[in-house]
Symmetry: C2
Subunit: 457 residues, 2 copies
Amino acid sequence: MPMTDAAIAYARQNQERAVEDLRALIRIPSISMLPEHKADVQLGAEWVAARLTALGVGDVAILPTAGLPVVYGRWTGAGQEAPTLLVYGHYDVQPVDPLELWKSDPFAAEIRGENIYGRGASDMKGQLIAFLTALEAVSQAGASAVNLKFLIEGEEELGSPSLEAFLKENKGRYQCDACLNIDGSILGPEEPEVVYGVRGLAYFEIHVQAADHDLHSGLFGGAVENPAIALSQAIAGMRDASGRVTLPNFYDDVRPLTEPERKEYARLPHGEAWWLEQTGAPALFGEAGYTVNERVLARPTIDVNGFLSGFTGVGSKTVLPSRAMAKVSMRLVPDQTPEKVHRSLEAYLKAAMPATVGWEVKELAHSLPALAARDSKVVQSAVRALETVWGKRPILGRTGGTIPIVAMIQDILHSDSVLVGFGLPDDNLHAPNEKLHLPTFRRGIEAFVHLLTGYAA
Amino acid sequence: MPMTDAAIAYARQNQERAVEDLRALIRIPSISMLPEHKADVQLGAEWVAARLTALGVGDVAILPTAGLPVVYGRWTGAGQEAPTLLVYGHYDVQPVDPLELWKSDPFAAEIRGENIYGRGASDMKGQLIAFLTALEAVSQAGASAVNLKFLIEGEEELGSPSLEAFLKENKGRYQCDACLNIDGSILGPEEPEVVYGVRGLAYFEIHVQAADHDLHSGLFGGAVENPAIALSQAIAGMRDASGRVTLPNFYDDVRPLTEPERKEYARLPHGEAWWLEQTGAPALFGEAGYTVNERVLARPTIDVNGFLSGFTGVGSKTVLPSRAMAKVSMRLVPDQTPEKVHRSLEAYLKAAMPATVGWEVKELAHSLPALAARDSKVVQSAVRALETVWGKRPILGRTGGTIPIVAMIQDILHSDSVLVGFGLPDDNLHAPNEKLHLPTFRRGIEAFVHLLTGYAA
């Protein structure tokens, strides 16, 4: 692989410049949440667009959305026959408060020891610079095996509110073979991971009403239903004591875990002791027959995220409440869909709710689960790239969280995503003293080099 | 009954003066809740004490409590052999806000049509004046068959916070054969009622904790228990769908309804249509085998008065809450006790709560149920008195509410209470434009005359 060697050599020679690039980008306070930083957000987009242009990326454009702009570009350095990878990332960052807890200016990009400190250092300006540095290296060496398109948005820290409409309008422009989502992390400096699946989400609010106004529990208790009890009884029947969801047909579309997957998750460094320590719970909990990692990463769950009824202040107000509300959400795995679990919930409530109350269900949010094929080119290329750099096989894992952009790309562009990034669990994302571990950053550059040169090899 | 006739004649001759007395008492804004009215509250006590003294009541005293004072007095006009009735009432009133909704000054005691308007007119200065007028009449006629002691407190509208300690300290002073609680009402101008029972109360707060801090439902859902679901499942098992409480041994001490009681409650003017209209509920609810009136007045119930967990604002925050709290209360009937249902709840929770959570129960309030013997002298005297005046048999009923003073008198003085008062359901108690219906007030005076002259006849 002389071309890969040349690219790696180039990357190594330019490590210091990569850090300088990162410092320059961190210095732009592109906080999407704060209107007073709108010009900085625009500057962030322009900085990325300029850098892409300098790398020889074509068609670079700062495209408008209903909100903040998206940076687009197309790089065809691998030649007409090569597949195309869509690179997803974002140039916006979280706010910095509480500012007084930062040990250095969040936009000064100060280096202390092995880390560089600053808002966005890990989430995700560091990942972006690592990738662009790798691209420069493979481009110089003529070594890439894959073409690229770029989708670098400015609203990720807001929950990507404009992205779905934007992607639907720009579907043709973004056709690709697969998506490389570089907004990722690994499990530890010596624990490389490639993430190939995310859970979906179906989030509902259930409202129950009995009387049309709050009543005195002495003068009316025994005459009308208590909506908090009716709702408690409904919720009690949605899940058994082991955590298995008992809504009708809930598991119909759940793709079973395969033996290779289970073997893989057994390699995860976090066992039960870690989960107990992280949560402070008196005991772990969940579906029988699955390890805690399997339950969180690859099995559907149901949770009550909020419950409110009646009087919740100090004291003993003897109210018989007229209403009760619960926020109930499910994490989904392929091939479940929010629509089907919504129907399942409605059917359950129709049968379970007594005639003594009125009720309704509102859907507040939904996102599809997604799972890339483990043997797909993008997944296998990422695994090989990290293995080459770390000298050990990365975990091929999933996240229990929901990443709407992954679901959107699957749903709108019909492309699988793999998450490859080099943040660490202690990087203080969204918190004071966010940092990036520079030795891992340098390994990340090389991993991206290998991913690009070794794509689908 | 020439003496009774003379007393009734005296009462009729003095009806106008009784109204003037009531106006004088209403003009004293004895609002116990507002510190700026402390002098008015004292004035209220002094007005009552002076009136008792003028009536020939002995040992009149304004006794201190930890809070506002109690007016005491002892009247022995029925002679040494006669039994002694403790008359309970209060001279304090509720605040008047919102003042702008009053059609006349709440302390001007304006008469419009058949009603006198003012704060305290019905609750309960009108009842107090009716009783004192009746006492004057029977005293003048030498007609009383019963001696009296007075316990007229100044903190009823605060929930009588100082009364239990006061009664315990003054137990000897208040020895009596029975208690006539004149803080009462009837069901309508032509629907007389005597109340001989109240429900008790046991009020708890249940706290459940799983993790020691709120978690992300994507990254932790499936690993730890959801405390809102655990609490919902516990609550769901406390009551069946019909409203029957399923806590262990809960009904062990429940005195069954007797056939005479059930026949009596069947005479109540409010049927299912009235309860539906009052509550606006889609359907009535409650224990099978009992009418709605029986369920509210004479059967125990369980209610959730409040439930709080997690995020209850607008939106879809994906939190896995660490805590859940519910306020759970039971209305009790004889011979249940708050202590026993507390033990019952604890035993249930010990068995029901999973090892995946920690939990605790706190008792916030308790009050014993109380029931006077239907064939007791005080009950039968009250029934005969109202029957004489209204020309129809009053309902011998109960209230589903809890009146701690009735329980205290039962518990500390070992005396039964009967509630006899002449407020009406539309008197706007605790609300703007509180009023008293003067024709019913005049009937009330005569009913009290008959109660005193015909006591235990």
